[in-house]
Symmetry: none
């Protein structure tokens, strides 16, 4: 079928029309690059990331690759290895059309640690969040099965206590080493950790319990191998919980941004307004809209 | 020349005779894998690492690769990209013959997350710590200026509130990007976070304040660029505080092991026995002596 072949051909070459404007950031450690550019007259961001090396492809990599000797010293030698393309894929993510905000988000930026008091939240952060009205349409698409429904690993449909569990975009699902799932609440009015009170304990316990069970069932990974946490600030203001594999150095699992769900539950048990009253620290990038608001308030 | 061609052929396929015994460790984030195996009857370790994505190869990657659509949702789409092999090399390191020590060095130890209740601490962890009587002689040597005295960046000599601040061994002090200092208390009877109560608030506040000031003075790095935290479990049972640069992905700064000093201070302010009564989560390696004690108690 000619049309089918043309369609496939077009899909294969979608990046060939991409015109690079600038590299926003890259990581030699993680083998990623974030590129800003255009498809025709549309702004876009293209993210390339090399994929983890899979154990089940090792013997084929060893036998089917070509090698060039680089350095030899005593018992150590290094080679440049070229593997067959199907054994050495990259992951390409395209954001198109991309807004100014996307471009800023992926741009490498220095961060400072903000110590946000309860008053700072009310007078600086909350008004900023409300004025921005960040779109979470893509979250609603997931909750309403308008997108990614085939990716859902588990769902508890309860409107107050329920959630959808699905793999994070960052996880290619090829190996458990970097397992990364997100539980997104059906409840739509909890923006972040700051909104949580003891009335949300049943929701949090439900996510913790059923999330762990679903991951055990689908991936045979027991709860003791999981790091379960929330971000503050989150990257979008609709409550969600991160499940990553312990030992996987997931981006954003540092103490300055992550809050273990078990700690959140304990803290709310002993103080129903713990997160409404505490000073919370978080890293804030200089190009984040919130940064200038803290600066204007004389807090940085 | 037939021999020349044979030699090149042999070099290209040096890995084809490698027989994998086991995968010692891998990193999905860094795209590395460490493999133990044999070349004929010689023990060897082979390390594969994907190479960073180079800006100067981007346009060729975009035009010469093939893509398969993976997910599409709203403005986001992800693809599996197969690049020409010469644009997507790996680095292969061969250690041959490898000793037992090489194998151990590259072996990952699996960790599990332990949820240690206050009772678990009293009945399992504390007796283990006491029986082990881990030597902290090297700490006393520092406090008494018998060792590393030339490395001390700052000292407050007060016996109850004082501390010594010095660079961590992991920091080569060549650049600020991975700044890592340790504050070691002169007070000798605080084993860890578990021992802290509100009576230690003056000590903790003193370390926080003077530690930040000393780092500003010596390194011109302001407090807003610092991540200041304790480990639980610590690697030695004499109270110490970590100061690392925000943005440096320091080992051990993950939410499962690190506790921000500002959070510790706040928690002790509102509950003098916070850390004596809480369930604390921490990762525990299977080869840690404490592991079997938790196992025997039926807690793992």
């Amino acid at each position: 079928d000619g049309r089918g072949e043309n369609r496939e051909q077009a899909e294969k070459n979608v990046l060939s029309t991409f015109q690079t404007t600038t590299v926003l950031s890259d990581s030699a450690r993680e083998k990623t690059i974030f590129v800003h550019g255009k498809f025709a007259d549309q702004n876009a961001v293209v993210i390339l990331e090399k994929t983890p090396i899979r154990e089940d492809t090792l013997s084929e990599i060893f036998t089917a690759s070509t090698l060039k000797l680089d350095i030899k010293n005593d018992i150590y030698s290094t080679y440049r290895l070229q593997a067959p393309p199907h054994l050495n894929e990259m992951k390409a993510t395209v954001v198109c059309p991309a807004t100014e905000k996307h471009v800023t988000k992926y741009q490498r930026q220095e961060s400072v640690l903000v110590e946000e008091t309860a008053e700072d939240y009310q007078s600086i952060t909350l008004p900023f969040i409300q004025k921005q009205s960040f779109s979470v349409q893509w979250v609603y698409n997931i909750l309403e099965k308008k997108a990614e429904s085939e990716r859902i690993v588990f769902e508890d449909p309860h409107p107050k206590l329920g959630f959808v569990l699905l793999p994070d975009f960052k996880w290619d699902q090829k190996q458990l080493e970097n397992l990364y799932l997100i539980a997104i609440t059906h409840h739509r009015n909890i923006k972040s950790l700051r909104d949580l009170t003891s009335e949300h304990l049943p929701l949090l316990q439900n996510i913790f319990q059923k999330g762990k069970e679903a991951i055990l069932q689908h991936y045979s990974l027991p709860a003791s191998k999981l790091r379960v946490y929330l971000h503050y600030q989150p990257s979008y203001y609709h409550l969600h919980v991160h499940f990553t594999k312990l030992g996987y150095d997931a981006p954003g699992c540092g103490v300055e941004r992550a809050h273990l769900l078990t700690d959140v539950i304990q803290n709310l048990h002993s103080d129903p307004h713990y997160y409404k009253t505490r000073t919370l620290s978080f890293p804030l990038r200089a190009d984040d809209g919130l940064f200038s608001h803290f600066q204007e308030a004389g807090k940085l």
